[in-house]
Homo-oligomer: 410 residues x 2
């Protein structure tokens, strides 16, 4: 079915009708910064979520996984705190996750099983539950459906992030329109497979849990799972989609439904925008690097090569130093684990084809310097093996990254 | 067979009888620093070598691989240049590698097929062959069997290394004694599977190419392949063993020979010493980190977990910042890809057992600060799965690493 999409300028999680949000300072962070967000739906929501694949799963991840199985069509909202990850906290951590959800239910109705929880921050410390409980109460009172309230929620989930990450889109189909909006946090520990990302997506589209989960997995596969800042993967990553079904449209009950494609397109646009925003705000990032791998035999091998290049500390420091050191790119391609023919590989930085036939080709240091002085660096690597492709986004590795991570706790 | 080993103080590649060496400035590096080494054997040598697994193999690697197959028992020496890697240089690079070997033969006898070549430095630039040829001639004239000549060779192969890496051991058996000596370079692009390492090992032991290759592979497997500085793997790595057979002893013709165990012990001691030296001199390193993984189901999974922790930028920056952020260690263990039970994992930093039952255990910030203030940081991680173990060595990630790599070429 034909559809049109329109990005919503200055959108937030509450750009979607039927959602309220709040972001407040609960005192979990030491210096009074906002640290607790609450997103609340006017009606029970179909939910979908993807979680970290780290074997050490934080208490909120374990709690939310269970909830998604038990109650995929009746969720009312989510409480998110920053400043403490509630990870590696054992049984007490599980009790605290549930108590946080119960506090939300006490304030806004329903039971603890109607609310998800997310946490981000230092690993191995217990949540200060007195502060969390009073924070949830304060946030419940502050819930608003204004765009500004959504912005406040996006600020409250930040840790080392320097700017909030938000995106929203309106999708119009012949059978009715709907909104998809999202917010995300994450600046370090960002890597393949959902690494220290917290993402909340809201929509008023009418969609059942099954196709919602399918669309979320597909959208995350080409957005949040295609970024890497430092190759680390966290214990807490969660991307949650809440669909309150309030839009006037036929329900999407399966992935074969006419509106499913439109929904997936809209969700992908929002998650790609959030993913790029995460990379732009990567810890210490001075450059935004888009690595497009073409002529691959499969998407998965394209991604594998892209990630090897994106995770190379030597490539990342060269970009920080504005050094067109294509040898380091070639080097990472060569150890990515894909059985390619070195002579068939070509490498472009911007419009310069630097490498062909396993040697330098259009090496023009002056033009290379111009390209590397820009804030966005496009790199393309053709593997000469097929027609699949993938795009990976990353940032450079700077002095500021080291600063931030050498002294995160202290 | 019983044997005794004695480390040779202040040893060098020429501590082994029957080897001469030189290190000179050939003008390949811009500022007149030593950049060409020559190691020459008094008699034809049995040779063994291991090479990078990167698909982009530098010309000298391709050349040496061929040589090792054709002439494993008649090598006379090796020429090593720093300043230019002769990698991604196509057919001309191959001709230059052979011409370098031919220049050595012209000076000291034999043919081009009797000399190996190694290069390290910037990728994608052709060797300045006039300088290489006159450099080889000057080095041939400077060949000496003094320990100091070996030291000069070790200095001439350095790139961003700040100190030469050398080790030597004398092994005494009831059937005769022999020496094993080595030098290594490598400070960045150091990772599993021989990353930008150049290693030359000399011995006067009588050993055939077969058992020599077997011993070298085994020794490298627990030494040079157990270190990582930045997770990158280069196009040029080579470890070469030259055995001139001049010691009074029965020949080691197979791995079942009585002296094989003594030889392997000696070779392992030298390669472990060189490996640790490489990590201590890692680019920007301020800490030497030993990560011992115990209670694993196999050596290979122990190494896999050790490498995940050692390659984590977040663990490395935390150590640089003297921050006992054990959550980052646990996190890396969790994404290492080994199907472990999180609750069975225990983590020690020094004598503090920080993690047990997936939560904090002996967390003593004061004692942790003392341990992290030391230059050597021992980390132990018990997986609770078996009785295999592995030890990995790495450095921290500092501001200086970024400095060095952002401006390597410029």
């Amino acid at each position: 079915m034909a559809h049109r999409m329109r990005a919503i300028e200055d959108g937030s999680i509450t750009s979607t009708p039927g959602f309220r949000a709040a972001g407040i300072a609960a005192g979990i962070k030491p210096k009074g910064a906002p640290d607790l967000a609450f997103v609340h739906a006017a009606r029970p929501c179909a939910a979908a979520a993807v979680f970290t694949t780290n074997l050490f799963q934080a208490a909120p991840v374990v709690y939310d996984r269970g909830l998604l199985q038990r109650n995929p069509a009746g969720l009312r909202g989510v409480v998110i705190n920053s400043g403490c990850a509630n990870a590696c906290t054992g049984e007490q951590g599980m009790r605290d996750a549930e108590a946080t959800a119960a506090a939300a239910a006490q304030q806004t109705g329903g039971s603890a099983h109607d609310y998800m929880v997310m946490s981000t921050g230092v690993i191995g410390q217990l949540l200060p539950m007195d502060k969390v409980r009073s924070g949830v109460a304060a946030a419940a009172l502050a819930l608003e459906d204004t765009v500004e309230a959504g912005h406040r929620a996006a600020r409250a989930i930040m840790t080392t992030d320097t700017v909030p990450k938000e995106a929203a889109v309106y999708v119009e189909t012949d059978a009715g329109g709907f909104t998809i909006a999202g917010m995300a946090k994450g600046a370090g520990m960002i890597s393949p497979n959902m690494a220290t990302l917290l993402v909340v997506l809201t929509t008023d589209a009418r969609i059942a849990p099954g196709p919602a989960q399918q669309a979320l997995a597909a959208a995350v596969g080409v957005s949040l799972n295609m970024i890497t800042i430092d190759g680390d993967m966290s214990t807490n990553d969660t991307a949650l989609l809440l669909a309150n079904g309030m839009a006037e449209m036929p329900e999407i009950t399966t992935a074969d439904a006419p509106q499913y494609g439109a929904f997936l397109d809209g969700l992908t646009q929002v998650t790609v925008a959030l993913a790029k925003g995460l990379v732009r705000d990567g810890e210490g990032a001075t450059r935004f690097v888009e690595i497009r791998i073409t002529e691959a035999a499969s998407f998965s091998e394209a991604r594998q090569v892209g990630m090897a290049v994106a995770n190379s500390s030597l490539v990342k420091t060269a970009i920080y130093g504005q050094d067109a050191n294509w040898g380091r790119i070639v080097c990472a391609v060569g150890y990515a684990g894909v059985p390619l023919d070195p002579n068939a590989v070509r490498v472009w930085v911007g419009d310069l084809e630097l490498v062909r036939d396993a040697g330098p080709y259009q090496v023009d240091e002056e033009r290379a310097a111009e390209i590397l002085a820009q804030s966005d660096i496009p790199i393309r690597i053709a593997l000469g093996r097929g027609s699949a492709e993938a795009t990976v986004w990353t940032s450079d590795l700077s002095h500021a990254y080291v600063d931030i991570n050498a002294h995160y706790r202290t």
